[in-house]
């Protein structure tokens, strides 16, 4: 797999975790919708790409899944953040903030020698 997808998947995973933290148990469609809404529809994702990410998180033990019934009475798989998932989210959030802050400082640089 090429680097871009990895980065993208990583970011997507973080969005999924954060969404689940905010919403509580939620099915795949709900997560996808919420991510789009949160980004004010700036982000448009292929909903299909969400599922491998959910599977990976589940395999790692960050989220767990069980079948339930959705608001409009459809049988759907609901994902829930586990303890390990919360820890992961906390550390990822910290890292992400640090990274953006550092990058931000670089963007704030002005020419000093010119």
């Amino acid at each position: 797999m090429d680097g871009k997808t990895e980065v993208w998947q990583g970011t997507l995973a973080l969005m999924v975790l954060k969404t689940l933290e905010a919403l509580g148990p939620q099915h795949g469609y709900g997560i996808a919708r919420r991510i789009e809404q949160t980004s004010d529809d700036l982000l448009s994702i292929n909903h299909g790409t969400l599922y491998p990410v959910l599977l990976k998180l589940e395999q790692e033990g960050s989220i767990s899944a069980e079948w339930g019934v959705s608001g409009n009475n459809r049988k759907a798989k609901f994902y829930r953040l586990t303890k390990a998932g919360r820890r992961l989210l906390a550390s990822e959030t910290r890292q992400w903030r640090q990274t953006t802050e550092i990058i931000g400082r670089f963007f704030a640089l002005r020419g000093e020698t010119s």
């Binding site: 099915h27 795949g28 469609y29 709900g30 996808a32 919708r33 292929n46 909903h47 299909g48 790409t49 599922y51 491998p52 599977l55 990976k56 395999q59 790692e60 033990g61 960050s62 959705s70 409009n72 459809r74 049988k75 759907a76 798989k77 390990a84 992961l88």
Partner: protein, 873 residues
């Protein structure tokens, strides 16, 4: 932790169940429906709502596919698929699968079994601390006490040194008296070996002195067997050869010393010692410069090589014992690592058998490759079809290799129980005295070896056929309906057959050379007559007999035996022929100006009738007589001994020679091969038992008929004289002769088995190729017969083809054997390594086998009905 968990989940996800697939479908379906519901709620038409949901999702199948990749391990999945496919293919052609698996399993099993012997006899480390620095030091196989002291004190390359000698001791004092294999050892021995007792202690330097040595250390086996593993035996007194000795230590299980037939050469086939007593040299042993009675072991200083040590010892020796004619000169001094000393006789045969069995396995591989090529030809249509449909060649090669791997793994699974049986059989038929062989088992190393072997074989036999099968234009294959092969493609199979025959020939030649050596050795003149002789061993320990009572016992015993019906002659001797060698005495002729120029002679104390009984011819002089008793000491020597003691003297009878006391030579007898049929002829010294009588004696009784029938009567005569006399090793001398060449027979039989296996495989191979070519050429044969060829012509044609292949293989094999046979040289006796008769006979045998194997398809070809054939066309 997360990665591990995920790897495990993926591994288990690889074996996708239908349930997982259903769940995935249901989940994605629910997603789409929810999206469609929302779209409908936004007022879209049902079709448009559905379409947009699908667009938004971005390809249902590709999402599923990437989900599946994420779920399992795709490469592993392919492998599992291929393996399943391979199993199906094997079930579809059970004949092929059975032949391939069985021949490979036999090959792998035999190789594994021999490897387990290599492992236990040569690869296992010696059970001593830092064993690489341990060496044995000997002059012509043994050493004297004064030389030992000199070496020990002067040689800077030796860190520690010890003397040892095997003895067998009568143990009594608790339970039945028994004869225990034991050793006299210096107090330093245990420390030198890095061995610690499991209980108690070993000898102190003080206990290593005459008169203070009333102590013994016992082995774990004896402790458990005789004393029930009771730790309170420490400090208990037992009777050893009738004298009380205190048990002071118990060695741990696995401790063995001396170990092996090579320590030193006179030790002979003793069983491993179970009891040790201090060396405690006695007054006459300490200064005796001619008493080559001991073995010497030493630990080299770190960084000193055995060669350096030898150079130093030779220099010391030449200073102590100046210029000698044929006695203790430098070249006779050997310094060998303990590993060498223990396994020197085992190493070459074991490695050669290992090489032979590896060749047999290689032949099995070639055979299976041959079968695979044949199958590849039949499956050409199927493979061509898959290639045309877009399968990559590498993918198909990978699949074919997986099939080979499945074959190999099945074979290995079958081979392991076979190997276990084989190992037990090998241990059972192996000649006595191969150190470490009894410990041969399927341990982790051996199992790893056979697993690796299976993988290697899969690569060896699988690669070429896999490439051949996918080679060529698929269109051709499809056009011919997958039925046959183009002429150019079939060149691989004859090449494999030629290789098989060449390899087989090498094994047949090796088996022939070993068999011929065995026959030559078996026919070597012994120098004595082994027929109709009963032998047994007795023990007359110093604690129970003195010199006179021992001589009296022997006198009475021979007289009693002579009176038994059926006995024609009887004698006693200190060491039986072919049961290990005796100690050596350094003897000097009295007229030799250099008193230190001794010749080492092997000693036999005998009763006068010994030569008569064994049929050893007197060359000149007379036997010992009763008149020699009480007169001046006398001796008889073998022809070789006389030549060395009195070089250039025609008739030395009447001359005197000595070690301590001078003896007069009264006769010269023929040489005997008493130390081994294939060993160098040793010089012997015979002295009457009243002059020198060791504790151990053997009785030899010649009978008019079956000697074994006499055993009971002789034993009861012995017990009438001494009811506590332990009688051991009752045997017929002919059997001792046979036992002494058992290792050669063992090697020849095993090699013949491997060669037979190889020939069988080669015959199967050539049968397959010839049958196939007959089947392919049925039409051609029919046409030729229609054109007037006789059945004889057809048969001859087919046989010619088989014979030509075999001949090509034989030619190649002869060249290979010419290069390889010299490796066998150390195992051969009286046979040249490139013996023409063996080479020619092997080649003839090979061609004959190929003709027999070709006969069945040839006769089938001759039965072809030209009319049926042409009509079919």
């Amino acid at each position: 932790m997360r990665t591990v968990r995920r790897a495990w989940k993926r591994l288990s996800g690889t074996f996708a169940s239908a349930r997982r697939e259903r769940e995935l479908a249901a989940e994605l379906q629910a997603h789409l429906e929810m999206q469609t519901d929302d779209n409908l709620a936004r007022g879209l038409s049902p079709e448009e709502a559905r379409r947009q949901a699908l667009v938004k999702f971005g390809g249902l199948e590709s999402a599923k596919e990437s989900y599946r990749d994420q779920r399992g391990l795709p490469q592993l999945e392919t492998l599992v698929q291929d393996a399943r496919y391979a199993f199906r293919a094997m079930r579809k052609s059970p004949g092929f699968a059975a032949t391939a698996v069985f021949s490979l399993a036999l090959g792998i099993a035999a190789t594994t079994a021999i490897f387990s012997i290599v492992n236990s006899t040569l690869l296992q480390p010696l059970p001593y601390g830092d064993a690489g620095r341990l060496v044995t030091i000997s002059l012509d196989g043994a050493i004297t006490a004064p030389l030992f002291e000199t070496f020990r004190h002067e040689a800077r390359s030796l860190e520690q040194a010890a003397l040892f000698v095997n003895v067998s001791l009568n143990l009594a004092g608790s339970g039945e008296p028994e004869r225990v294999p034991a050793a006299r050892v210096s107090a330093t021995l245990f420390n030198l070996l890095g061995a610690k007792p499991r209980l108690g202690r070993t000898f102190t330097a003080e206990e290593d002195q005459q008169g203070r040595d009333a102590v013994v250390v016992i082995g774990d086996g004896l402790w458990k067997r005789r004393f029930g593993g009771d730790p309170r035996v420490l400090g208990r007194k037992v009777l050893v050869n009738g004298a009380p000795r205190t048990i002071i230590g118990i060695m741990p299980p696995g401790f063995q010393f001396p170990d092996g037939p090579e320590l030193p050469s006179f030790v002979g086939p003793f069983p491993p010692a179970e009891m040790w007593r201090p060396m405690a040299l006695v007054d006459w042993e300490r200064p005796c410069t001619g008493c080559f009675n001991f073995g010497m072991i030493a630990r080299l200083r770190p960084g000193v090589s055995p060669e350096q040590a030898r150079a130093e010892l030779v220099a010391i020796l030449q200073r102590v014992v100046p210029e000698t004619r044929n006695g203790a000169t430098g070249p006779d001094l050997t310094v060998r690592t303990l590993r060498d000393a223990i396994s020197s006789q085992t190493r070459t045969p074991v490695f050669i058998l290992f090489g032979a069995v590896a060749v047999a396995l290689l032949i099995a591989c070639v055979n299976v490759a041959n079968l695979l090529v044949a199958r590849g030809l039949r499956r050409r249509g199927e493979l061509a079809m898959r290639i045309s449909l877009g399968a990559a060649r590498t993918r198909i090669v990978r699949q074919l290799l997986t099939e080979s791997l499945v074959l190999a793994v099945c074979s290995a699974a079958l081979a392991i129980p076979l190997a276990a049986v084989g190992i037990r059989a090998l241990i059972a038929i192996a000649p006595a005295g191969v150190p470490g062989i009894a410990a041969a088992t399927l341990d982790a190393r051996v199992l790893a070896f056979s697993f690796g072997l299976a993988l290697a074989t899969a690569l060896i036999f699988g690669t070429a056929p896999a490439i051949a099968a996918t080679h060529g234009d698929p269109v051709d294959a499809l056009k011919s309906g997958g039925r046959g092969a183009a002429g150019s493609r079939s060149s691989l199979r004859p090449a494999l057959i030629v290789a098989e025959f060449a390899l087989s020939l090498v094994l047949v030649v090796a088996a022939g050379l070993l068999a011929k050596s065995f026959v030559t050795v078996a026919r070597t003149p012994l120098g004595f007559h082994a027929e109709n002789i009963l032998t047994m061993r007795l023990s007359l320990p110093d604690t129970k007999y003195d010199k006179h009572s021992r001589a009296a016992f022997i006198d009475q015993l021979t007289a009693k035996c002579a009176a038994l019906p059926g006995v024609t002659s009887e004698a006693a001797v200190s060491t039986l022929p072919l049961t290990g060698e005796s100690e050596g005495w350094g003897m000097v002729a009295e007229d030799n100006p250099n008193p230190k120029d001794y010749t080492m002679l092997r000693v036999r104390a005998i009763t006068p009738a010994y030569f008569r009984t064994l049929g050893i011819r007197l060359r000149s002089g007379r036997e010992f007589t009763a008149d020699d008793r009480g007169a001046a000491p006398v001796a008889i020597v073998s022809a070789t001994a006389a030549k060395r003691l009195w070089p250039g003297v025609d008739n030395p009878i009447g001359r005197r020679f000595k070690m301590n006391r001078p003896m007069t030579l009264v006769a010269i007898v023929d040489d005997t091969r008493a130390s081994g049929l294939d060993a160098e002829v040793l010089p012997y010294l015979y002295i009457p038992f009243w002059q020198f009588a060791p504790e151990e004696f053997a009785l030899v009784v010649r009978s008019a008929a079956d000697p074994a029938a006499l055993a009971a009567a002789v034993k009861s005569e012995i017990w009438r004289l001494d009811r506590d006399q332990p009688i051991t090793h009752v045997a017929v001398l002919r059997q001792l002769v046979a036992d002494s060449i058992a290792p050669r027979r063992f090697q020849a039989v095993l090699m013949a088995l491997f060669a037979g296996f190889a020939l069988l495989l080669a015959a199967v191979g050539i049968y397959g190729v010839v049958s196939y070519s007959v089947a392919q050429r049925t039409n051609e044969i029919g046409i030729r017969m229609a054109l007037g060829a006789s059945r004889g012509d057809i048969v001859a044609g087919v046989l010619y083809r088989a014979g030509a292949l075999a001949l090509a293989g034989a030619a190649l094999g002869l060249a290979a054997a010419y290069e390889i046979a010299p490796l066998l040289r150390t195992l051969l006796y009286g046979v040249n390594a490139v013996e023409p008769s063996v080479f020619v006979a092997s080649a003839v045998l090979l061609v004959a086998v190929s003709v027999v194997a070709g006969l069945i398809p040839a006769l089938r070809a001759a039965r072809v009905d030209p009319m049926v054939c042409l009509r079919y066309e």
